[in-house]
């Protein structure tokens, strides 16, 4: 009896990240997005006769920092190569890239998935320049069918870091989780703005399938230029399904470059192996080799802040945060830093709840971020402390927070000035409950009949009568005691 063969996918990723430098990779033109076409150009990035490239030192610095974050070995000798092909968006008709001596060598990068922490091998990361932007006029915006194509050279020469992973992934969801973590890390380190819609971060995936247990790799295809995490995951999933159908049907996968159309979910071929370019790589004679000073490289490594993945792990392990809390708080470097300052002076779990929840919700109304607001970590910690000590009720604590956001000031002083302190005198509270029982006979009857919901009504009345100073929990308790015995 024949049994269906089970296949597993092998996925490797190539990520292009535009570096956040002030100027282009090999000339002094400013980097910009959305300016008038062709205003940020010069003889170098337009490849005028006789113009020469000069390597952007800041791009090298960012590449080394990225290399450290990716756990890569940093080269002591790194060269540029010319990658030759003709296309109107490539004015020199070669791209200055790196070939056999990239700035960052092998590394490993840890990332978090719903199944826990995983690791992916990094093959290399190298510096290169971006092409210009082609705009196809007429037709549907693609090259085929366009009436004419025009070139905007503003983007041409933007520094790129190309990160290549080992083909070690098999689950499209892991590919997407890796990319999310990678993007977060690069953005937090200031290496790229990571804006996928604007193309600051782009991803290609190399995909093949093989029978489970097989160790040799199948024929791979390359899925080009996907610009959202969702599309990447969907595109890879679709391509695995396509390949599996081919192989299961007795066919063979052809090596080719593919495009995934996120609107239709279709995959179509861009070019086959036979049409592939011979890039005729050779060492770029216009540039000298990079020879990063080992002391400088070590300094950059020492200065590397804690990576988001490590931060999240530490918060969960040491501070008792949930994975979800940690993920949200690690989203930006600034938010994480703010949370840590609060957690240093308040119980971490409460700090996480307040920062994630009430604080961000209230600040959103004011279009402010916590670290830019009047709510210093110390002020927030004081509010948390008063709540935890039952010195102020939760509703009043939120009101105090609103006051701090609006005008600043010491939370405890606000509570005192406005008389918002919790009503902790048991006798006073009992008298209030007795009064409410006396005044609301109908509701008392309902409570006796088992309608527990009416407790909410009594609590509301109690809060109203005390301007929120009563402890809602205690009011409920007293009510039950008195009515139900």
């Amino acid at each position: 009896m024949m049994t269906a063969t089970a296949y597993e996918a092998v996925i490797g990723l190539e990520i292009h990240a535009q570096l956040r430098t002030r100027t282009k990779m090999f000339c002094a033109c400013e980097l910009s997005f959305g300016d008038e076409p062709n205003v940020h150009t010069c003889p170098v990035c337009l490849a005028h006769p006789g113009a020469l490239p000069v390597t952007n030192a800041e791009a090298v610095r960012l590449a080394v920092i990225a290399g450290h974050a990716l756990g890569c070995e940093i080269a002591t000798h790194s060269t540029f190569h010319r990658k030759n092909y003709f296309y109107p968006d490539l004015p020199k008709a070669y791209q200055i890239s790196q070939f056999d001596e990239p700035i960052c060598g092998p590394g490993r990068f840890r990332f978090l998935t719903p199944d826990g922490e995983k690791e992916l091998g990094i093959t290399r990361a190298h510096l290169e320049e971006d092409a210009a932007k082609l705009i196809h006029v007429g037709g549907d915006g693609r090259r085929a069918g366009a009436e004419q194509s025009i070139v905007d050279f503003n983007r041409g020469g933007t520094p790129l870091l190309e990160i290549v992973t080992e083909p070690e992934l098999s689950d499209p969801a892991d590919a997407s989780a890796f990319l999310r973590q990678l993007r977060l890390t690069l953005v937090q380190l200031g290496i790229t703005d990571g804006n996928m819609e604007e193309g600051s971060l782009r991803c290609d995936a190399n995909i093949s399938i093989r029978p489970v247990g097989e160790t040799t790799l199948g024929t791979k295809t390359e899925l080009k230029n996907m610009n959202s995490f969702t599309f990447i995951e969907r595109g890879i999933t679709a391509e695995i399904a396509r390949q599996t159908a081919i192989v299961a049907g007795g066919g063979a996968v052809t090596q080719e470059t593919l495009h995934y159309d996120p609107t239709t979910g279709e995959i179509h071929s861009l070019r086959s192996k036979e049409e592939a370019h011979d890039y005729r790589y050779f060492p770029e004679p216009d540039l000298v080799a990079l020879a990063p000073d080992p002391a400088w490289v070590a300094d950059l490594k020492a200065g590397l802040p804690e990576l988001p993945v490590d931060r999240r792990r530490r918060w969960v392990a040491d501070l008792g945060l949930t994975d979800e809390d940690a993920e949200v708080l690690a989203e930006t470097r600034e938010l994480g830093d703010y949370f840590e300052r609060v957690a240093a002076v308040a119980p971490p779990k409460s700090a996480a709840n307040w920062v994630r929840g009430e604080l961000r919700a209230q600040l959103r109304e004011h279009d402010q971020e916590p670290w830019q607001s009047h709510v210093t970590p110390e002020r927030l910690a004081e509010i948390i402390a008063m709540v935890e000590a039952r010195e102020v009720s939760m509703p009043n604590a939120k009101a105090v927070l609103a006051d701090v956001i609006a005008d600043g000031g010491d939370p405890r002083a606000i509570v005192e000035a406005k008389g918002l302190g919790a009503m902790n005198d048991e006798g006073e509270l009992e008298a209030l409950v007795d009064k409410l029982i006396a005044e609301n006979a109908a509701q008392v009857e309902q409570l006796r009949a088992g309608k527990d919901k009416v407790i909410g009504f009594f609590v509301g009345q109690a809060m109203k009568a005390t301007q929120g100073r009563a402890d809602p929990g205690r009011v409920g308790e007293l009510l039950r005691q008195k009515v139900l015995g």
Binding site: P43, L46, A47, H48, P49, G50, A51, L52, P53, V54, T55, R82, N84, F86, P88, P91, K92, A93, Y94, V151, D278, R280, Y281, F282, P285, D286, L287, V288
Partner: protein, 482 residues
Amino acid sequence: MTGRPVDLTATAQVEALRAGEISALELVDAHLGRCEDDRWSSFLAVDAERARARAREIDAMDERPPLAGIPVGIKDALSTRDLVTTAGSRMLEGFRPVYTATCVRALEDAGAIVVGKTNMDEFAMGSSTENSAYGPTLNPWDTTRVPGGSSGGSAACVAARQVPWSLGSDTGGSIRQPAALCGIVGVKPTYGAVSRYGLIAFASSLDQVGPFARTVADAALMLSVIVGKDPHDSTSLEWPEPIAVPTAERLDGVRIGVVEELFGEGTEPGVRDAVRAALATAEGLGAELVPVTLPHAHHGLAAYYLIAPAECSANLARFDGIRYGHSAADAGDLLEHYERTRAEGFGPEVKRRIMLGTFALASGYYDAYYAQAQKVRTKIVQDFAAAFADVDLVASPTSPTVAFGLGERVADPLAMYLSDTCTIPISLAGLPSVSIPCGLSDGLPVGLQLAGPAFAENRVLSAAHALEQAIGFDTLPPGLDA
């Protein structure tokens, strides 16, 4: 001042101007007359109006820069803002650059006046200037012969006294060989000595800008202005010491290595005799002649004709008719646009080298050709290092032959390539070298090539000067005294 201004060396012109014996305008006018009556087709463009305007400005100055008012010719491979720059190619017909090459700017900042752009083999590929898309330059010593190349126009204009000096570029001999064939001095500095920013690239790892002049002192003076690190050229070098104008008269204690391999087959007897005589003169000045061997030099030509075409195949890829330069009309699609633009814009020698280089870099051939050629290059570098462990300078003929007839080698590229057998090994090693006229063979000038270790410009120029003084070569071509 006695005699014609155009017969003065640049150094003498500087003095005459400083002494008030002549104005910058008079000096420029005297030269412009000869540039505009260009019997040798040295120039592709002469900018008389701008040269005169600049001369007037200089005449009005109280404080003048060191080379104020001295006319200079610029090889058309060098980018000059607003002044048509074609590199001798149809591809760049009428092209007006938006920027000026660093070395040209250095000369202009020093007060020199650019009178025009000189003819050259298309994109500096050639040894006779016959590959210019705008017709050949004629040798002022014999107008039926070539001036050499690729900087033939820059050599001819100095020999014909249209300017006292000029800038050229040398990739495998393109300054030294035409200097030899035109009976003047040409200097190819250490690779990296002069910024290449604005030099239209032929082979980036070999290209170097340098001066032509009628005396070694003039060449040294010009080099002193253009040498040094340029932030726009990563391969340019911090220069360890100023280039000095040479004054040495003796060569006592100088060990000159005579490179036997470069006197070999193909060297004309008249050339060999003149060079041997010059070396005897050197001995008379106190130099010691030592035979040296460069065991891999004979592979130089083959290595050069892989490395240089490989680099040029990429360097010239930018001429695609999209942003500037020649653009094919009515191409049906992108591929046809590229094919027709380049088929129409480039001449046959350029196409030959682009194809050679593309092939040498192709997947599957790279190791056998380009990589192998780089290994040979390393061997040649080591040969020179070994030689300079023992000697101060090496000497050889600059060109195996004197100026050959127009059209003589056009149909035989290999014969043309052999013109550079003596200069190519030095280019591959990136070393400084100078060609000085050392005598005549059948009435035509013969060049002696001297080379030294990297950065030894002062040593090379000093020895060249001492020899030049002793040889007393008359740089005035016959029939040109009118």
